[in-house]
């Protein structure tokens, strides 16, 4: 049994964990749930020796562990998948997989390393090319590497901090299979996820944290997604579903036969239109051209053929540019935030040259601080201090900050790429309401998401992206309440032709 005993940890004024005790049994998948900032990652990092607690003990089979660094956790048979990837971008996948494995001798046995990586990829059914450099991988592929790295360790305890956030449903299923196998062989698995249906499917027991305290630990059989959500948030929660509002407004974004071979996936003859007042979804498995498409819309890449048109509310054409679009970026830590700068500075980052925030090169500190304070209130960012570094916010709170900043700028087009990745139930709900509100106020929203449920819940029209090609999936069925054909979308996502038989 692995025990966290009376663990406490503060970061400056922020209490991340207050006197938390949990027992993790052998042969169980133990899910740890909680809102963004509840302290889940902090607790896991303490069990892994990456963060030292202010008080409390980690006890393994009755013996207190001295965890000064992750190395000590390895010695105690603990392996971890980190929420924020711990990969060396300049290294190949194989090199990353073997890093820190002492049993390989002095020489880098390149062929052996490669073989081992291939074997691991096959054994856990997570496909990666051992010779690719991590830098070139999509987030989904990186997540596979991060997972393989942990599974490769001869460990008895596996900690997985949001391993499924960027995985395709297929990969997630494979991971669950592997986890079940490990558990049946006696391993202990600590699993964090915001997707409650996943948790119900895989967990044996569940612990809920709220604001640094343990609320409950119970058997998963006794819990329901609703009861868990209620315990996490502290109040009941309904799931938000946006009623479709088909729009005939003016186009805010139009792509005409756009092709480009730049980037990892070539875009091929992509055409799409987003009108004001509607939410358009782009579904697809990660790494099928989503990044490249987003870069086109932002004007970061120019098409080799075709045309990208962006319009302001009066119908005039504007140049595609990052500042012309409200952009909720895929990778908040790299694309949206400057982690060493404060919350307030990040809150105005893209608009700091606007007249409200600066004049003739001088920043208006007061305006910036009050703007940040407003965002903090409106988007419930915790801790509610404009002066903390963005780096110290939990993942969910970083995302709230980005969304707050981007939506506050009042652009005609919102480009949201996986906007609720890593967000808890309440925050996800919050983001969905905000996006829908934006559309109702006349913005056009382009939602690129690997989460099909999210798309189905929010959008008016769906395109599916596969290998750089877009296919529109039309609503069908009852003309009064037409619905999307999920089976067809799944086929398109897998690159199969749409079913042609028997539909109107």
């Amino acid at each position: 049994m692995l025990e966290a005993r009376r663990i406490a940890k503060r970061f400056g004024p922020v209490v991340a964990l207050a006197d938390v005790s949990v027992e993790f049994h052998d042969r169980e998948v133990h899910a740890v749930l909680g809102e963004n900032g509840a302290g889940k990652s902090t607790l896991m990092n303490i069990l892994y020796g990456l963060i030292r607690p202010d008080a409390g003990q980690v006890v393994l089979d009755g013996r207190a562990l001295r965890l000064r660094r992750p190395m000590d956790a390895h010695a105690a048979g603990i392996a971890m998948v980190h929420q924020h990837f711990m990969l060396v971008e300049d290294f190949t996948v194989a090199e990353n997989l073997m890093l820190g494995h002492l049993d390989v001798g002095w020489w880098l046995p390149r062929s052996a390393v490669r073989r081992r990586a291939r074997e691991a990829a096959r054994r856990f059914a997570l496909d990666v090319d051992p010779d690719r450099r991590v830098e070139e991988l999509s987030v989904g592929q990186r997540q596979r590497v991060e997972i393989l790295k942990a599974l490769l360790r001869e460990a008895h305890t596996f900690i997985l901090d949001e391993p499924t956030g960027v995985l395709s449903p297929d990969d997630a299923q494979q991971l669950f299979e592997s986890l079940r196998r490990l558990r049946n062989r006696g391993a202990r698995i600590l699993f964090i996820s915001h997707k409650l249906n996943e948790v119900m499917a895989i967990a044996d027991r569940v612990t809920v944290l709220r604001r640094g305290r343990r609320i409950i630990t119970e058997s998963a059989d006794r819990a329901t997604p609703e009861s868990l959500a209620q315990q996490m948030v502290g109040r009941p929660l309904g799931e938000f579903v946006r009623p479709p509002a088909p729009s005939s407004g003016d186009a805010v974004l139009e792509l005409r036969n756009v092709s480009s071979a730049r980037g990892h996936v070539a875009l091929r003859d992509v055409s799409l239109v987003v009108r004001s007042g509607e939410i358009v979804g782009i579904a697809g498995v990660d790494g099928n051209g989503q990044t490249e498409l987003a870069r086109m819309v932002l004007g970061l890449d120019r098409p080799e053929a075709g045309d990208v048109r962006l319009f302001d509310p009066d119908g005039g054409r504007i140049e595609p540019a990052p500042r012309a679009v409200a952009h909720i970026a895929d990778d908040r830590r790299r694309e949206a935030l400057v982690l060493n700068m404060s919350l307030a500075e990040n809150a105005v980052l893209k608009h700091h040259t606007d007249a409200t925030f600066s004049r003739r090169g001088w920043l208006n500190r007061r305006a910036i601080a009050s703007h940040a304070a407003q965002l903090v209130r409106e988007f419930d960012i915790r801790p509610a201090s404009p002066f903390v570094a963005a780096a110290s916010l939990s993942g969910g709170n970083q995302q709230r900050l980005v969304i707050g900043r981007e939506l506050a700028a009042g652009r005609g087009l919102v480009l949201a790429v996986n906007p609720t990745r890593g967000l808890d139930v309440a925050s996800t709900d919050f983001v969905h309401r905000r996006l829908s509100e934006r559309a109702a106020n006349g913005c056009g929203v382009l939602l690129i998401s690997a989460d099909l449920d999210e798309i189905l819940r929010l959008v008016d029209r769906i395109y599916v992206i596969h290998s750089g090609r877009l296919t529109e999936s039309r609503r069908a069925g009852d003309p009064a309440r037409p619905t999307h054909d999920t089976a067809e979308i799944a086929r398109l996502m897998a690159g199969l032709p749409p079913d042609c038989g028997g539909r109107t």
Binding site: L50, P70, D90, F91, L99, G100, V104, W106
Partner: protein, 302 residues
């Protein structure tokens, strides 16, 4: 002038070029090892000076030039460990610390050499190093440098410790979570790198002039910093860059007498040439040179 044939001139230029390249290659390789671990030691000029002085001192004391070189390496390693103590253990800023080491070394070696001169004199000797033995006409320092470059290259790119070193310089947090002791690796890299930089100083003093002069490194440490970039953080690349600059330096010496009266005009330009070229190269001629991602950033576990 006329009694020297062209082949002789070429040979002497090459010889001088190699001699000039040796300390550059050693120093740049030492710095490279540290940078691969994420340590940017701009105090390398000072470390080199300390090595030069330590080299002469131990050669004079023991009466052996080889012991002098070992002393130079040890002195360099100690100076670099000081740097690591400040920047790794106490997480002080690397640039500030490097600057401090330079200033400290400039001052201290100047004072120390005066004392040592007088001390040697009072013992009826002079503060100089005996010449290096030259078995079978082979330049021992050039050979050693070749060996160092080859070993460093293989170690960095083909061994597990090399992978560990690079991981620490690219992403210390990832290295930490993989079970690598980041601080330890950085200390070792600093010491080994410092030993090579010290040896470079020893090559100048013990190997060439046999004595220590104030500021005798004459900016070679700073040049080595640039060579690391030139060579794109690869030991062989760095060695090639060092040879290029060594030859340039030798060429300048060779050309001096042939210039006649124009020498007064051209001499400063010739001396400045390597540095001008460095500037041009750093401005982008080398193409995409990528420094280790975590260069000059302290790692601060929570």
């Amino acid at each position: 002038m006329n009694d020297v044939t062209v082949p002789e001139l070429v040979a002497s230029t090459l010889h001088r070029g190699v001699q000039a390249a040796v300390p550059l290659a050693l120093a740049a390789n030492g710095e490279l090892i540290a940078e691969r671990a994420g340590l940017l030691n701009i105090g390398i000029e000072g470390v080199m000076l300390i090595g030069a002085l330590g080299g002469v001192a131990s050669a004079w004391w023991t009466g052996s030039a080889v012991a002098g070189l070992i002393g130079a390496a040890l002195a360099g390693a100690l100076a670099a460990l000081l740097f690591a103590l400040w920047t790794v253990a106490w997480r002080r800023d690397q640039v500030v610390t490097g600057l401090a080491i330079n200033l400290l070394a400039f001052g201290l070696t100047g004072v120390a050499v005066q004392r040592l001169d007088r001390f040697a004199e009072s013992h009826g000797s002079t503060f100089v190093a005996p010449p290096l033995p030259m078995p079978a006409g082979i330049d021992p320092l050039a050979t050693l440098t070749l060996l160092v470059v080859a070993v460093t290259h293989v170690a960095i790119f083909c061994t597990r410790p090399g992978l560990t070193l690079r991981a620490v310089g690219e992403n210390p947090e990832a290295a930490d979570t993989a079970g690598i002791r980041v601080a330890l690796v950085r200390f070792i890299a600093a010491a080994v790198g410092g030993a090579l930089v010290g040896l470079a100083g020893g090559a100048l003093s013990v190997g060439m002039t046999h004595r220590f002069q104030e500021f005798m490194t004459g900016g070679r440490g700073f040049l080595a910093l640039a060579l690391v970039i030139f060579g794109r953080w690869s030991p062989i690349g760095v060695a090639i860059a060092a040879c290029f600059f060594g030859l340039l330096d030798a060429l300048q010496v060779t050309l001096q007498p042939t210039l006649g009266d124009a020498v007064h005009l051209l001499y400063p330009a010739l001396v400045a040439l390597p540095y001008v070229l460095t500037l041009v190269a750093l401005a982008g001629v080398t193409g995409r040179a990528r420094a280790p991602a975590a260069l000059a950033t302290p790692y601060d576990p929570r």
